[in-house]
Amino acid sequence: MSAYIKGALLCIIGTAAMTSNAQLDVYLSPGYGIGFSKARLDRIQDSYTSYQTYLDNNMAGDPYTADPNWDSQGRIQTLSFHLGIAGDGVMAGISYFPYRLKQERYVMQQSGYGRKFVWKEARNEVLFDVGFGSKYIDVFGSFGVNLNTYKMLSYQVYPSGHESINSEYNFNGLFSIFDAGVSFGAGLKLKVIPFLALEMRYIYASDLLPGEKRSIIEDPSALADNSFAREPGTNHYPLDYMQPLTLDNEINPNFRRSTLQFSILFYYRQND
């Protein structure tokens, strides 16, 4: 066990012991919730549309059927973790929401060949909650960061049904990018049921960190496949399939997302 973990445990237990006679609850709670989320995915939507335009222009003799474009809004679910203190007029804590989102799209040609796209978002919201706390209700504002890994997988689909991400075709690939941004929001926690808390919160996850806009660190990042197996110069996931595959034909991450989240938390109240 590392010294850091030991230290964290001692802090938590120590804080609990110190506050056990006060009117503050110390909570360490796993939670589960569903949310309604809306994202900005216009760039991968444009790319998907351009792929169909590419087929229209280059494979007109092999008609295709395509799934609808990427969903920019929908229902999401996640586990969450909460640590903090509440009561006596104050509330302060840390919340962690790991969202794992995935969408798939097929564009299948009459010949049996086609392409499968998979879009994955591994989002990690780390939020500091501060606000008013009491025995039965907490109201808080949140601020923090979102740490995200985005992946676009592009597979060749064969008539046998097999899907391959090999390097035989330039359109195949595993394009990924890490991006972080500032998050903020607000929420409400109800604690009227023993051992349970109901939480509603809004999270706005920006795609930029403070000072990142128009800075040198924003532009160079793009959805990229950095495998050595790839033909040099074709590493970026194309924004426009009608244009040559170059390092300029790229998608910079601007995938901000807002979420209205409802969670149920295990909540042990010490001061009953």
């Binding site: 938590i12 609990a16 360490l28 796993p30 046998s160 991400i165 390097s167 050595f228």
Partner: protein
């Protein structure tokens, strides 16, 4: 509720945090690269079965076979010195019936694995079809032919080099 019971509950809740990452692969930027799983433990995987078929037709005939000789793959991190800096390279070495085979640099991601035999660009690209702690199913496609490989984690002993002498 007594104070000691409260503290016990709090301690148990705190202790749960320690197991949050059990059995997770090594991670860089939270992408959980597959190499951590491949090299975990002894890092040895045995090729159990291959299936080959023509991918250009619907419902192709699948030819299933087992390797005639025991074939294992050993995944490990190879370190060497470059310009005074130690560089770690994910590596795999193949052994067929106790005989050492080729060695490759490895790019192991959750959805794709690349074996590179020293070339700067290129390599053999496998699509990860199934990724479990003790089973890996990968496919390789070239033209109309697709081969599916099934590997099982085996904790096999790495064959030791046999003693030899060329002079003296």
């Amino acid at each position: 509720m007594t104070k000691s019971y409260k503290n016990t509950v709090l301690f148990l809740l705190s202790f749960m945090l320690l197991f949050g990452s059990c059995q997770k692969d090594e991670s860089a930027l939270n992408d959980y690269d597959l190499f951590g799983r491949l090299q975990f433990g002894s890092g040895t995987w045995e090729l159990i079965e291959t299936q080959s078929f023509d991918n250009s037709i619907v419902n192709p005939e699948i030819v299933t076979s087992q390797p005639p000789l025991k074939t294992i793959y050993h995944y490990y991190m190879r370190s060497y010195l470059v310009g005074g800096v130690i560089v770690d390279v994910p590596t795999v070495k193949q052994y067929v019936d106790q005989s050492p085979g080729p060695m490759y640099d490895v790019e192991a991601e959750l959805d794709r694995v690349v074996f590179r035999a020293g070339e700067i660009f290129g390599g053999t690209v496998y699509t990860v079809m199934e990724n479990k702690p003790n089973t890996q199913v990968w496919s390789f496609t070239a033209g109309n032919e697709t081969i599916i490989y099934t590997f099982k984690k085996c904790n096999c002993a790495i064959p030791l080099p046999s003693a030899s002498e060329s002079g003296g």
